[in-house]
């Protein structure tokens, strides 16, 4: 019996090896054989083209501006968009409204004890503003603005923060090339940054 078991085990191993070799490369619907999970490999994803995902594909790699769409808007057009779509929550001149605080100022405040966070003071890359407004604003109708409107209102906010002139026209190139005050303000996670000891007696009181 013992030798028979060994033989069967050996056969099983060979059989699995063959099945693994046959496992389809690339995605297929349904199941194919594999060494994983009892010899059946699940593969149920349906192939889709990037073109068919275009309306979902709204992200911007903000450091380079990759993903910013065609289109443009001026600061003055942005002021109109802002008045119509944003001021109700953010207040006139983006100075703060009933729902949210100011989106203007704070540049230089990070060296003080009261850091004021606004798109102007905080964002390391200007395309962040485009990405966020396009995906999430206005809160009650997200993704309803045209790309031109998003460029325009982004330009207006940047203008209020003193980062673009009132006459500016904003497009992908404008945002990607604008140097933001907090561009070099970030460091990557370096924790653990504490080295607490497990003191059990005669410890420093809390």
């Amino acid at each position: 019996m013992q030798s028979l078991n060994v033989q069967l085990l050996g056969l099983g191993t060979i059989a699995l090896a063959i099945l693994t070799g046959c496992a389809g490369s690339g995605p297929t619907s349904g199941t194919t054989a594999s060494a994983h999970g009892g010899g059946v490999r699940h593969a149920h994803g349906q192939p889709i083209s990037e073109a068919d995902l275009a309306r979902w594909n709204i992200d911007v790699i903000t450091k380079t501006g990759a993903g910013l769409p065609a289109g443009a808007g001026t600061v003055s057009q942005g002021k109109e968009v802002y008045a119509a779509k944003c001021a109700v929550c953010h207040g006139d001149n983006a100075a703060g409204g009933p729902m949210f605080g100011s989106m203007v100022g704070g540049i230089g405040s990070f060296q003080t004890n009261t850091r004021v966070l606004t798109p102007g003071s905080m964002y390391p890359y200007a395309p962040i503003l485009f990405d966020y407004v396009r995906r999430a604003m206005p809160l009650t109708q997200p993704q309803s603005l045209t790309n031109d409107e998003v460029y325009a209102v982004s330009g207006y906010i940047l203008h209020l923060n003193g980062l673009l002139p009132a006459t500016a026209t904003v497009n992908a190139q404008t945002l990607a090339s604008l140097r933001m005050p907090n561009r070099d303000g970030f460091i990557v996670d370096d924790r653990p940054d504490t080295k607490a000891q497990r003191c059990m007696s005669n410890c420093r009181p809390l």
């Binding site: 690339g26 192939p47 450091k63 905080m122 962040i128 996670d189 940054d193 497990r198 809390l206």
Partner: protein, 439 residues
Amino acid sequence: MKTSSKSAALVHQARAELTASDSITHPQKPGRRRLMAQSLAVAAGLGGLTARSAQGAELAVPKSNLEAGRPLPENEYGMPAKFEAHVKRHRTNVFVNRQNFSDWSFTPIHQQHGIVTPNGLIYERHHNGVPEIDPEQHRFAIHGMVKQPLVFTMSDLMRYRSESRFYFLECSGNGLTDWLKPASKTVQQTHGMLSCTQWTGVPLSVLLDEAGVSPQATWGLAEGADGAAHARSIPIKKLMDDALLVYAAGGEMLRPENGYPLRLFIPGWEGNVSIKWLRRLKMGDQPWHLRSETARYTDPMPEGKWRQFSFEMEAKSVITAPSGTMVVRPGPVEIVGFAWSGVGKIRAVDVTVDGGRTWRQATLEEPVLDKCLTRFRLSWNWDGTPAKIASRAVDSTGYVQPTVEDIRKARAITGFVQHHNGIFPWAINASGEVSNAIA
């Protein structure tokens, strides 16, 4: 009939009292409660409600022994007893939001028994409210730097072999109002953006392998189907390691507020990367640096800097009883709490009852699992003099939970600061009243 309506009134009164209190086990006004329980035990035959208070009086047979219970409804989703109506989430009530679309609510961890948070009590954090998504209509896509972009229906996803694992989930902002001075009263407010359950779904690595990730891909962008299209960049190493594509929690499909029908789950990392209502994962060769990983969820550091991508939730613990607004009596007190670590298991928890001068190792309650809430306990005989109690976790990497002072040496504690894993003390005064002692 007369007796019955009197007892109904008493029960109503008792329920109101329970609802007003934070906890049955640690009532705010024990004297009044005891008095009331006694009168209840005598007048309404509710002996056994508080055994200690009924000392010396013969226990009556409970009314529930003497009548039929309610019949079973034909169909029902069971709900907690009406006497438990006080156990619920609370929206932010320390830092008051002026709108409730981008908001959060806290788990009543002081009322949680065991390590599993009931689905209706798992804390919430939304960036633009809770979407209603029909699972038949929902689609999840993997694209970008892959050999073949793929789209999945929920039925597709549920055909894969599932895995169920226990993990905690904690918001990076848990405790952000209570660094240098007490702002919150209860442990629900100070530590309640913390929950734990068994999550069920498909290992993301299985689906990424199916799509064939490009060797050049190093990061993935996960994005929700909510009104904020909330999105985060996540290193591919973590996505391939232990990330789950989750559709169920605590034995049932996700609740809407926790991502129904599909969410990402990134074990041990700050909650906001576990994107709810997940609609796509795009692979790329660098992080996206979106608002949610630059202007938000970053840590203020010295010299005006900010630390980003601080994903791991480091080892932490808190005493949940006795905790803020509870009242203790001199004599035996069972100190209990939770410890957890986003980078491993809890190895030990120490408890101090003298403000940190001496510490004693607490007992850990099984199971002790990786990246999961662990319960600890320590029996203490309180002598009735003012005391300061706190807990300190040690995880399987040897990392020791720091004090706020320790953290302050490395980071800038200014404004609403994320990633607060400091030791959290509670003060007990001579009357037994427990209060937030962070300072």
